[in-house]
């Protein structure tokens, strides 16, 4: 993680103000918290400010949020510099976040990063036309579909350099793209279709049960009481096998 600083003064806008719509939304967020706890709304407000400013947080936005919440400026700056999802420098119209954590790295994230470097340049560099910028991020939680990248709000998974290139081409040309797995796979199901529960009779009502595996009424039938445990009575450890009473797990 690099040192997170505000962008250079020369590219900071002079001022920032929430649009009427966003301001109303912000007031709504603030109202969620009890009197004296307005500072709790700082993250949603910063996020909305980042969205409004085109994907990054200018310095005046930090002050605007602080004033709105009655917080010292430095407290808001602390939050903005702590969370890596707040971009402190301008980003492209499409901000590409390539996962570089172990599963993605093992499945070829390095090649994706190479594509970014070739097409876009260094991390957090915005292309001439303002279309793209990219950054390597930590795990985004789609390890099953590694390697993957997040572009603005969507995940693009099971990428290869070719498919990744194609997505970027399409985005640049304004053609529609399909988020999700880029290979023949449903969500995070196995590649090439399901490998279990493949018996068609499970779904036709002609199997062992003579009906659907689980009917609606089955699902809604009350089960056993929660305190009925099926686990076996714990046995004493081998060394204490001769002990007559079960050892207590709690200290008195």
């Amino acid at each position: 993680m690099a040192v997170r600083r505000l962008a250079d003064k020369s590219i900071q806008p002079k001022d920032f103000a929430f649009t009427a719509e966003n301001l109303a939304w912000a007031k709504q967020q603030i109202a969620k918290y009890p009197e004296g706890r307005q500072a709790s709304a700082v993250i949603p407000l910063l996020w909305r400010a980042q969205e409004q400013a085109g994907g990054w947080l200018p310095e005046p936005a930090i002050r605007t949020v602080a004033d709105l919440l009655g917080m010292p400026y430095i407290r808001v700056l602390e939050v903005a510099t702590f969370y890596t999802m707040f971009n402190l420098a301008p980003v492209g119209r499409y901000h590409v976040q390539v996962c570089g954590t172990t599963p993605c790295m093992l499945r070829g994230a390095e090649a994706l990063k190479e594509v970014c470097r070739r097409r876009i340049g260094e991390q957090m560099h915005v292309t001439e036309d303002g279309t793209f910028s990219w950054v390597e991020v930590e795990c985004l939680g789609a390890c099953v579909n590694a390697p993957m990248a997040q572009i603005n709000y969507d995940y693009y998974e099971d990428l290869t350099p070719e498919s990744f290139n194609r997505i970027l081409d399409d985005l640049a040309a304004g053609r529609p793209v399909k988020p999700g797995p880029q290979i023949d796979r449903q969500f995070s199901a196995p590649v090439g279709g399901p490998t279990t529960l493949t018996d068609p009779s499970l779904y036709t009502g002609t199997g062992r049960h003579g009906g659907p595996s689980l009917t609606d009424s089955d699902a809604k039938r009350p089960g056993a009481a929660a305190n009925v445990s099926e686990s076996p009575v714990p046995k004493a450890p081998i060394a204490d096998a001769s002990a007559t009473t079960a050892p207590s797990t709690r200290r008195e």
Binding site: M1, A2, V3, R4, L6, E59, P72, Y73, I74, R75, L77, E78, T81, F82, R251, E252
Partner: protein, 692 residues
């Protein structure tokens, strides 16, 4: 009380104690960096790890409550080990981590010799590092003219951040970034604006925040240390004056729970360079409109010639804000012998009259008493500027729990919220009629009325004081065991001078009357620089700095500044404190009482004391309470009722704080470059805020 075994020793501590406090109560030493008694608990340095029997890991003792400890299996008290092999290893590990990114620049670090990290690394660290990678580098930050930063050295204890937010009440410092890249800074590296910012230097356990004016000036082991009392305001903070040779190098706070806890204001701390510049080191005599250097006998002869020619009612003496009781007593003695009745110590014309009793001009509730107060009304004062340390005490009380505060006067940022009631005396009069703030004062236990010099130093000051006293009586601020009528002074000498009765005698002129053109023939100024003296009278100035007083004087007698004399000071509470001498006055300058003693000889009215001891004996005989050092001779609560009875008409002018510029209130501060820089910065900040 909760029983606990610390290193095999059974102790009994209150259940709200932390393990760290309990271990200290048992006599064990716990190293720490982030923990500080007067700040909230952060628990991030991990240096205070101890072993708690039953816990699989060492616990941070500063953040672990005694009541959270589990008893042993058979109900034995919880057992804590502070010297076990596990603790030793844990502390070594923590120290190794702390030192990973700490530069090895102790030889060029100003903290060297008084560094917590240095000391604790010696005691708890290992002798070598296993870290082979690059160290982290952090850019130094600009956070003002008083605090120098070397951020490579920062160990992120966040004491400074917590101090700024909690004690100073100006949350300007923060920790930006995260993890290894966490850095302490102000917002966009703006200068801090707190009057207490110098204290972060003392709080910093390493050399990340050091004193900018003191940078590379001296090493702690080459300094002589003298415990003394501050005179920059009327709080009388306990200070330590560090000297090398005959020069004062720096001033640090001492702990005095009753007065300043362990904080001092920036003026107290950084006025040091003012002690070196603009000093009067030889007598001066005005000839043909210009001051020329003279010898002591020459100067004395010139004074004697004028004094002998002047009738007593055409002579007068004014005492300034930094004078100690000894010289005030000697001056009063000399003037009495000359039958002079025109005496005054109230350069600002404050309506304080010792004839009404001591309680009428003291901060009766005491500074520590602020913590017991239930409600506070501030009248004509800006305690943040007039007594920054006392203001921190009010803030401490406000943070504790419900504490309604009302303000009549200038609407300023006091670092805590308050009810703004109005600007002038008529609001005070209205408050007496009723209103919900009167109700909250009445319903509060032990309410306090704080009256500033801004309310007293005006033509209707006596009437305002009477109104405030009436209000104090009305809301039950004066009861058995509690006197909530508090006068906040701004001058260190004021209460002492009032105690000594340095006010006009029968038929005598007050300070403001004395400086009317043509009022006097001879005027003595004992360090009085805050009053405009018109030409006409033959003016004798006794003082340490070439400031306003010396500029208009006909004879200048060089005196000693406060670190250069042993003197008694009485603070705003009426607490008698003894300031010790740490250095010697420069050149031909002498201690003020000795000047007066020598002058008395020339004037044919020899004062009967040849030593400071003899002078003090005479002073104690006349004013016995002055010999009870560090004690308060409480005023009589009945004085408040007497004061209240002196009602008069008040005018409509709004109250103005007695201090226009916090950094330039006395001749020493005005001679200081550092204070001038602070003042310019503060003014720029104000202009900026006004423009926004």
């Amino acid at each position: 009380m909760t029983k606990l075994i610390v290193d095999g020793k059974e102790i009994d501590v209150p259940p709200h104690y932390t393990l760290l406090q309990a271990c200290e109560a048992a006599g064990a030493e716990i190293p720490r960096f982030c923990f500080h008694e007067r700040l909230s608990i952060a628990g991030n340095c991990r240096m205070c790890l101890v072993e708690l029997k039953g816990s699989p890991k060492p616990v941070a003792s500063c953040a672990w409550g005694v009541r959270d400890c589990r008893p042993g299996p058979n109900g034995e008290p919880p057992e804590v080990l502070t010297r076990s092999p596990m603790v030793k290893k844990a502390r070594q590990g923590v120290m190794e981590f702390l030192l990973i990114n700490h530069p090895l620049d102790c030889p060029i670090c100003d903290q060297g010799g008084e560094c917590d990290l240095q000391d604790q690394a010696m005691a708890y660290g290992t002798d070598s590092s296993r870290f082979k990678e690059n160290k982290r580098a952090v850019e130094d930050k600009y956070i003002g003219v008083l605090v120098k930063t070397s951020m490579n050295r920062c160990i992120q204890c966040t004491r400074c951040v917590r101090f700024a937010a909690e004690v100073a009440g100006v949350p300007e410092l923060g920790a930006i970034g995260r993890g290894e890249d966490m850095e302490i800074t102000t917002y966009l590296e703006q200068a801090m604006t707190s009057e207490l910012q110098g204290n972060v230097v003392d709080l910093c356990p390493v050399g990340a925040l050091t004193s900018k004016p003191y940078a590379f000036v001296a090493r702690p082991w080459e300094l002589g240390k003298t415990e003394s009392i501050d005179v920059m305001d009327a709080v009388g903070s306990a200070i330590r004056i560090d000297t090398r040779g005959r020069e004062v190098m720096r001033i640090l706070p001492r702990v005095n729970e009753a007065v300043n806890e362990e904080w001092i204001s920036d003026k107290t701390r950084h006025v040091v360079d003012g002690l070196r510049t603009q000093r009067l080191d030889t007598p001066y005599l005005r000839e043909n409109g210009r001051l020329r250097e003279a010898s002591w006998p020459e100067a004395f002869a010139a004074i004697a010639a004028r004094v002998k020619a002047a009738p007593p009612e055409r002579m007068g003496a004014i005492v300034g804000d930094l004078a100690a009781c000894e010289e005030i007593f000697a001056l009063k003695d000399l003037m009495t012998r000359l039958s002079v009745r025109n005496l005054d110590c109230r350069q600002d014309g404050a309506a304080l009259d010792p004839a009404l009793g001591r309680a009428s001009y003291l901060f009766n509730a005491t500074i520590q008493g602020i913590e017991d107060a239930g409600a506070l009304l501030i009248v004509g004062s800006n305690p943040r500027k007039e007594a920054a340390v006392l203001n921190a005490r009010i803030r401490k009380r406000w943070r504790l729990n419900h504490f309604p505060i009302g303000l009549i006067g200038e609407r300023v940022d006091l670092t805590y919220p308050y009810r703004y009631l109005g600007a002038g005396p008529e609001t005070l009069a209205q408050l007496l009629q009723g209103g919900d703030f009167l109700e909250s004062l009445k319903s509060a236990e032990r309410p306090m009325i704080l009256v500033g010099q801004g309310a007293l130093a005006r033509p209707d000051g006596a009437a305002v004081a009477a109104l405030a006293a009436r209000l104090a009586g009305e809301v039950g601020a004066v009861t058995d065991g509690w006197n909530g009528f508090c006068v906040l002074h701004t001058a260190a000498a004021r209460v002492g001078a009032l105690d000594l009765g340095f006010v006009p005698g029968p038929g005598g002129k007050s300070a403001l009357e004395m400086v009317q053109p043509g009022a006097l023939d001879v005027l003595f100024l004992l360090g009085a620089d805050e009053i405009d003296v018109p030409p006409g009278a033959f003016t004798v100035y006794i003082g340490s700095h070439g400031d306003r007083g010396a500029h208009c004087a006909d004879v200048v007698l060089p005196g000693a500044a406060y670190p250069e004399k042993s003197g008694t000071y009485v603070n705003t509470e009426g607490r008698v404190q003894l300031a010790a001498r740490a250095a010697f006055p420069p050149g031909d300058a002498r201690e003020d009482w000795a000047i007066l003693r020598a002058l008395s000889d020339v004037l044919g009215q020899r004062l009967p004391y040849d030593s400071l001891g003899a002078l003090r004996r005479a002073m104690y005989a006349a004013h016995p309470h002055l010999q009870r050092i560090d004690e308060i001779a409480a005023g009589d609560p009945a004085d408040i009722a007497r004061l209240a009875a002196r009602a008069g008409a008040v005018d409509k002018a709004p109250f103005k704080s007695a201090i226009a510029d916090f950094y330039l209130t006395n001749p020493i501060a005005r001679a200081s470059l550092v204070m001038a820089e602070c003042s310019a910065l503060a003014e720029g900040h104000q202009a900026l805020t006004a423009a926004e």
